[in-house]
């Protein structure tokens, strides 16, 4: 497969790993922001190829993992409303909310459909005009423009029963929050390649400028990741942290102009509630006034309010997903990992989401 196979060459991978080992003198700590990178690093055994001087931490780049439990409760509450069809990406189904889950709600009769794309959700809305079809909008800047495009399309085609419950989040503010927190001292960050296809590299310039942290935007194949780590080590060994694009076939400094336009058209920046971190100002997207009629928060405000009042959100006991998404703990350091918390019986989202650090560690044990 073109643009995949060439970046999996094992000979090149070994050589790149050797180069890293040759260059790396100082002990450094790197964070891979994105859950997709955590998964790829685990799957290809990248850690096993790196020298002891490099420590890797996983970040909060898993949209399912950082959705606040109260927000998930809202989606579950809406699902019980007759006349509502909930459409969602698959991973959300099994995440435990405070009292239930989408999967449990579906077993109890709620109309919940798993979709691969917002296009599917629109089709469902067109096919069931008498129902209100609500799309659970989780994701970062990679997903936000796809949701914006679906809202614009719904407007154009006169689809009036389509709504989005936006839990969309932005990556630069949460990186800023983590670096500001200073809980985990980081020397470099592996930047999320596909978020950056949309955003470009400019929004991340504050990372080296304000915090002296190196930032290399990476693709997802093993050679991409090893190349990015090479560049991070080079930057750090020469005391020259900066923003660099290693994923040049996908990311341009200015990003995807059309996608950014659509996002600006449909969304406004708002604060967002990040599980494990709390409210981070200006880190979320809510639907703008012009497209208010697609906002589930607006259309179902009464239902959402009473759901919140009836039953307050609560975190599962002993769950350390919050610590894991901040890089403050690795999954094996959580007492519930592999004991009370497994993919079959998950306690927190990190074990459910296939981009969650816990599910990656669970699946890919290395010798």
């Amino acid at each position: 497969m073109k643009f995949i196979d060439e970046y999996q060459n094992s000979e090149l991978a070994k050589k790149l790993a050797q180069r890293i080992a040759g260059l790396s003198v100082r002990s450094i700590r790197l964070m891979e922001f994105c859950g997709g990178h955590t998964h790829a690093i685990m799957r290809y055994g990248i850690r096993q190829l790196l020298p002891e001087t490099i420590e890797m931490k996983s970040g909060p780049g898993c949209p399912v993992c950082v959705t606040a439990i109260g927000d998930l409760d809202k989606a579950i509450a809406l699902s019980h409303s007759p006349g509502v069809i909930i459409t969602t990406f698959g991973d959300m189904m099994r995440v435990p909310g405070s009292y239930s889950s989408l999967q449990q709600a579906r077993a109890e009769g709620a109309n919940i459909r798993i979709v691969y794309s917002t296009m599917d959700a629109l089709e469902i809305a067109k096919a069931s005009p008498e129902k209100s079809v609500i799309f659970i909008g989780i994701g970062f800047e990679t997903t936000a423009p796809t949701i914006a495009a679906s809202i614009v399309k719904a407007e154009r085609e006169g689809i009036e029963n389509f709504y989005v419950l936006s839990f969309l989040k932005l990556t630069p503010p949460v990186i800023k929050a983590l670096l500001g927190l200073g809980e985990v001292k980081l020397d470099g960050i592996i930047g999320p390649g596909h978020v950056c296809v949309i955003t470009g590299s400019h929004p991340y310039e504050f990372i080296p400028e304000k915090y002296g942290v190196a930032y290399v935007i990476s693709g997802f194949e093993p050679l991409d990741i090893l190349l990015s780590i090479n560049k991070l080590v080079e930057q750090l060994e020469t005391d020259s942290p900066r923003v660099e694009i290693a994923y040049r076939r996908g990311v341009k400094p200015e990003g995807n102009r059309k996608a950014l336009e659509l996002m600006n058209q449909v969304f406004e920046i708002d604060s967002a509630d990040w599980r494990g971190i709390g409210i981070v100002p200006q880190s979320g997207l809510k639907i703008s006034k012009e497209y208010r009629h697609f906002d589930a928060n607006d259309a179902f405000s009464g239902l959402l309010r009473s759901a919140c009042n009836d039953r307050p959100a609560r975190e599962p006991k002993g769950c350390r997903c919050g610590d894991v998404v901040r890089g403050a703990a690795t999954p094996p350091e959580c007492k519930l990992f592999r004991t009370a918390c497994t993919p079959e019986k998950p306690v927190g989202p990190c074990m459910v989401s296939s981009e969650g650090a816990c599910s990656a560690y669970y699946q890919y044990g290395f010798l």
Binding site: I4, E6, L16, G90, D91, M119, T143, G250, A259
Partner: protein, 86 residues
Amino acid sequence: MPRYFAYNPKAMCLAVPVKVVFIEGDEAETEIGGVRRRVSVALTPEVKVGDYVLLHTGYAIGVVDEVEAKETLKLFEEIIKLSEVH
């Protein structure tokens, strides 16, 4: 048709490079490894038949820059050569 999505690590962050074989309005027919899929190109209006695009949740989010791709592979080779010299 009911849609079941058991286990999809690619759902949120990742995008797969696919080749555009046919464009119709804001949708395109794409191909990878002999598998075909219909996608939206609403986010990549500049796309042409024969381009490769990065596919994420049913949308092309960017066109793959083939020149840069070649440069990256060349870069790998250079890095390897340099390390062998030492």
